[in-house]
């Protein structure tokens, strides 16, 4: 069944199209792949091969649904249910079509102690996954009701759905042909479906995790344990670690140690997995042809036997390919050529549409790097999933300011005119173009200073003076904030300086204390920037020497007014929260003006 790796590779390319060219080319490729896989399965006569192709078609179907169903106005947590429900229906229809009973899908009752152990592995793995990807929380401040509902949704429509698809269905049918190697195929496909996470490390992690889960299912015959473990990972990443991590204030050394320890655990798990494969291979060999000598061989001898078998399989494949090259196997050549042509057609269709829609080929989400968690020094604003970094009382005052990714240069439409072209135009300039200028100005921001005030509904207020230097390859990032909080008890003032990974804070008594820098300069600055990534209902543009934009910020549930100059440089930002009436006003007094920030004496 040479077609299976070809199809898996094509799915990987279709996923990569989504990262590098955008959603539309990826969706087209996946749609064509669905047609090809279903058509190929109809033409197949042999049952196991036909079954594999049918189940493989569910992967592009999952991606197509995940790109088409979500609606911006619906909270993100409900997207899982909206996508997962049709996918579950597809899984059920496939299982019914293939006459697979529940027990063969791993849904039967199994001894609970090993399942609980497997489920518990999800807790440490969840922390590892969080530290690798560092995603933003699904909701800024979920209450208990939100956490419970969210957890149930993630359990059913993420954990259960993905496990029943990749472990219950795919692994079941693929191991019928490929044997233990089927575990690798199913894990690889799962990892491929995570390419859209934009993190290569996370994709590798998911691949290893998939191998571990596949091994657990093959050993126990039940998927309940891995369903719970998978759900714990998702729930931990969505609701637990983003908030608990901030409370724990883990130092970088502890984080690195946890990551290393978790990786070691995974490697040990994989070694156990390989040894188990060898053992099962040896056992099946003994069952078919009794070889009493093998039973007494050491593990190394068994490894030798296994490698000999792999070598023999490689030779057989090589001979087959040789025959194919020589044209002796006409039928095989014909079928394989058709598959190749169809797969290439699927990719080229998506690629062509991507290039037609976006000739410069930069509408994808990867930008210059596939690692969004590591910002390149030259483009410090091109990060995603930043943690909220605000001084303590400012953080209290800004509950609705959830961390959101900045608009990265990769997301800026490339067909829009350049800044100079816009500046030289006469007549009214559209709001979209001004927004584009603002996004470009944000992307080019390196140093500067600003003044911010926060007014509470009760009449109390905070004021902050911020100076920052985001650094480059020679300079470490620097951030200085002086805040004064006015209440009925008087005025309290503090100052914090962050230089690289060091921080100092001045208290009321004037004493400086040394802190470990929890957040980078960039992360602390993001709260005060006019982020244009969640704009809705952009109302009007007025011209009085400057432009004034009004919009509704869906992510923060706030009304925003932004005044910019003719070149698109922000002058003043005013953000009014609809939830609690907080008013944040930021005046950008020095946009890319040099500042000098030195550590305290």
């Amino acid at each position: 069944m040479v077609a299976v790796p070809i199809y898996i590779a094509t799915i990987a390319i279709a996923e990569a199209l989504g990262v590098f060219l955008g959603a539309v080319p990826s969706a087209v490729s996946h749609a064509v792949l669905i047609l090809v896989l279903l058509g190929h399965s109809i033409l197949m006569d042999r049952a196991p091969s036909r079954h594999i192709l049918l189940v493989l078609a569910l992967a592009p179907l999952l991606r197509l649904l995940s790109l088409t169903i979500p609606i911006r106005e619906v909270p993100q947590i409900y997207w899982y249910a909206m996508i997962g429900a049709p996918v579950l229906v597809a899984v059920a229809a496939t299982a019914r079509h293939l006459d697979l009973p529940w027990s063969r899908l791993g849904l039967h009752r199994a001894p609970w102690p090993p399942q609980i152990l497997i489920a518990c592995s999800g807790l440490p793995l969840s922390l590892t996954a969080f530290l690798i990807l560092q995603p933003k929380p699904l909701a800024p401040q979920p209450g208990w009701y939100g956490i419970v509902i969210g957890s149930i949704i993630l359990l059913i429509f993420a954990g259960f759905t993905e496990e029943i698809l990749f472990r219950g269905l795919l692994q079941q049918v693929i191991t019928e042909i490929f044997g233990p190697a089927g575990l690798v195929y199913s894990s690889t496909l799962l990892a491929i479906m995570y390419i859209g996470s934009l993190s290569l490390r996370y994709v590798l992690f998911i691949g290893l995790l998939g191998l571990f889960f596949s091994w657990c299912v093959s050993r126990t015959g039940s998927i309940w344990g891995v369903v719970l473990a998978h759900s714990f990972i998702n729930i931990g990443m969505a609701f637990l670690w983003p908030f608990l991590g901030a409370q724990l204030n883990l130092s970088p050394q502890i984080v690195a140690t946890i990551q290393l320890g978790s990786w070691l655990l995974i490697v040990i798990g994989i070694i156990i997995f390989v040894l188990t494969l060898l053992q099962s291979s040896s056992t099946s060999s003994k069952a078919s042809t009794p070889q009493p000598v093998l039973a007494q061989q050491s593990q190394f001898n068994q490894l030798h036997v296994y490698l000999s078998r792999v070598h023999a399989q490689y030779q057989a494949l090589h001979e087959r390919l040789q025959k194919w090259r020589e044209g002796r196997s006409g039928y095989f050549t014909y079928r394989l050529n058709i598959i190749f042509v169809l797969c290439i057609a699927a990719v080229l269709t998506g690629l062509g549409i991507g290039l037609v829609l976006n000739p410069q080929g930069s509408a994808g989400f990867a930008g210059s790097s596939i690692e969004p968690t590591t910002a390149p020094a030259s483009t410090p604003l091109a990060t995603s999933a930043p943690a909220l970094a605000v001084p303590s009382h400012v953080a209290v005052a800004l509950p609705s300011l959830s961390p959101q990714p900045l608009l990265t240069p990769a997301l800026i439409p490339t067909t829009a005119p350049s800044k100079t072209a816009v500046a030289s135009t006469t007549g009214p300039v559209s709001a979209e173009i001004i927004l584009l200028q603002v996004a470009q100005a944000e992307a080019g921001l390196r140093v500067g200073q600003l003044e911010a005030t926060i007014t509470y509904g009760s009449g109390q207020s905070s004021a902050a003076q911020v100076r920052f230097d985001l650094g480059d390859e020679q300079r470490v990032p620097r951030f200085q904030i002086t805040t004064s909080y006015t209440s009925t008890d008087g005025v309290q003032s503090t100052e914090r300086i962050t230089i690289g990974d060091q921080a100092w804070e001045r208290q009321q008594d004037g004493q400086w204390t040394v802190l470990s820098a929890r957040e980078s300069a960039l992360k602390q600055l993001q709260v005060f920037l006019p982020r244009t990534d969640s704009i809705s209902d952009l109302k009007r543009v007025t011209m009085k020497g400057t432009y004034v934009l009004h919009w509704y910020d869906t992510a923060r549930d706030a009304d925003v007014t932004l005044r910019v100059d003719a070149a698109g440089i922000p002058q003043q930002l005013r953000r009014v929260s609809r939830a609690n009436g907080l008013v944040l006003t930021v005046t950008y007094s020095g946009w890319n003006s040099e500042v000098d920030i030195a550590p305290p004496d």
């Binding site: 989504g18 955008g22 959603a23 539309v24 990826s26 969706a27 749609a31 669905i34 047609l35 279903l38 109809i42 078609a57 179907l61 999952l62 197509l64 649904l65 995940s66 790109l67 088409t68 169903i69 979500p70 609606i71 911006r72 619906v74 993100q76 997207w79 899982y80 909206m82 996508i83 429900a85 049709p86 996918v87 229906v89 597809a90 229809a93 496939t94 079509h97 990807l133 995603p135 993420a158 759905t161 993905e162 799962l190 995570y194 390419i195 859209g196 996470s197 934009l198 996370y202 998702n234 990443m237 989400f365 969004p372 997301l411 439409p413 979209e432 244009t532 990534d533 969640s534 704009i535």
Partner: protein, 82 residues
């Protein structure tokens, strides 16, 4: 982050041009659904003992796509009413 909702999904839906993108993606899914339905009708017209099995095979993609289509239409309609 899951395979169901990835960063690409989130970025697509939350982008400034999400309305145009959503429309394009919906058209792609609808076209696929139409092609599958046409295929199914053609297969059903065949005089072949295995035609029913082939048509059932296509149902694996048709049913979820129909569900998704209905779901999105219902949500949009509700949104309009509000």
């Amino acid at each position: 982050m899951t395979a169901t909702v990835t960063e690409v999904t989130i970025s697509t839906i939350m982008s400034n041009s999400s309305d145009a993108l959503s429309t394009t993606l919906a058209i792609i899914a609808t076209l696929l659904l139409l092609v599958l339905l046409v295929q199914k009708e053609i297969i059903r017209a065949l005089v072949n003992p295995r035609a029913k099995r082939w048509a059932d095979t296509l149902n694996i993609a048709i049913v979820p796509l129909l569900l998704a289509f209905g779901l999105v239409v219902a949500i949009r309609f509700t949104d309009l009413l509000h």
